[in-house]
Subunit: 225 residues, 2 copies
DNA sequence: GATCAGATAGCACGATCGTTCGTGCTATTA
DNA sequence: TAATAGCACGAACGATCGTGCTATCTGATC
């Protein structure tokens, strides 16, 4: 069922894009600045949180004025929404898309976990996984930002689930395996890896997470050396 | 190895208590007020975060003045440390101690997970697990508050690990089982349950988490009805 | 090259942040 | 009962928050 994966990936990539109306931009420098702002915003948000992210700090980090930055979005909430969308694009590019190159089924399931651990280890963001932090932070704050984060998180678990279903169909996993339970578990391992990595900064927890994933999926750890 | 569990539990209960110097209190009403402040602070922190928790909001929620509240702690960081300690006491009382009543080994492993899920379902805190949110939030902010949160999180995983070791010694788990990997996994399931519950507010994810835990521990789900 | 919309900056606003100070009030104790 | 000390208060501080308004500048279009 390749269609299912494609659907979910497209959903993940475009989730927050469709939450913002078309801005009708004309000049290229503005678009460049906007991209630079969002990249920095996503990075800062993993440290200070989406709510703790302030216009003043963000502008100072980019060497521009508060009002000049503010004019790109019109409100803090729009900035947050655009930041979530940017983080989604980065996540899709760094974690999801590399996994799609792997063999469908168990291969993609392993690949997406490995890509996530590399995403952490490479320290794309100083505060670990953007969405892990954003989910816990915004979960208690109703509004469009929370909805965007929740939709992305659900789409990611759905992606895992789709890989698991294919793996079961291809008899790479026991027929009695529950796709919902498995995707829930793998998501948990990913969250535990992020939490421990952020808290203790030790890359050893990522190796532990890799071992746990392989063991859970019944893969003989020949690639550990 | 009952001593091991006791050691960890005491460590968890007292982790943040020893981080604050003796305040030399004399009057009973002050102690009562302080307790009320900390209970409310722990609750508010699961919604706004430990950093987003503001003196003004906290005072307003308690119907007292900012300065009157502030005098109890002397700085926001001291308030945060005391709040972490209070949350630790609540977690120990609601999640850890009930589990100690269960049969040592696998029984305690199951009981502590179940107690955690009930802790969520009962909505002790409006924002789910205090430490799950605090870990992601403070992980990127070096200082004594982060250290207290990290110590508590490590102590909890150690608790799980101790239960797992006992369960293996008692042949309730396969001899090849890895206590580090298992405690890491269970911690992940707990984090996933919290994240999903907070994001989507659906108690169904808790039932899913219960199923996943029982299946992971090889328990026949006779208690599902 | 003139025109115009978009990009950026400067300045100021009301609100809220953590924090400090001085002052009564009250529970405790000698 | 008088003295002491902890508790709570109102007011105010400098700083920063998100958010507007206005002016200047600059890249794109004819």
């Amino acid at each position: 069922m390749y269609d299912r994966s494609c659907y979910v990936v497209n959903a993940m990539t475009d989730i927050a894009d469709r939450t913002t109306a078309a801005p009708r931009r004309k000049r290229a420098d503005g678009e460049r600045t906007r991209s630079a702002i969002l990249r920095e915003a996503a990075s800062l948000a993993t440290v200070d949180g989406l709510e703790g992210l302030s216009i003043g700090n963000l502008a100072a980090a980019l060497g521009m004025s508060k009002s000049g930055l503010y004019a790109h979005f019109g409100s803090k909430q729009e900035l947050q929404l655009a930041t979530v969308a940017e983080a989604g694009r980065i996540f899709a590019a760094e974690v999801v898309e590399p996994a799609l190159a792997a063999p469908a089924g168990l291969g993609q399931l392993l690949a997406v976990c490995e890509a996530f651990f590399e995403h952490l280890q490479r320290r794309t963001f100083p505060g670990g996984c953007f969405f892990a932090g954003a989910a816990l932070e915004m979960g208690t704050r109703p509004g469009p930002v929370k909805e965007a984060v929740a939709a992305f998180q659900a789409a990611f678990v759905d992606l895992l689930r789709g890989f698991a279903v294919t793996a079961i169909e291809q008899h790479e996993l026991p027929p009695g395996e529950d796709p919902d339970g498995l995707s829930f578990e793998l998501n948990g391992i990913i969250l535990a890896a992020d939490a421990n990595f952020v808290l203790h900064g030790n890359t050893a927890v990522l190796d532990m997470a890799r071992r746990v994933v392989r063991r859970r999926l019944g893969v003989t750890s020949d690639a550990s050396a």
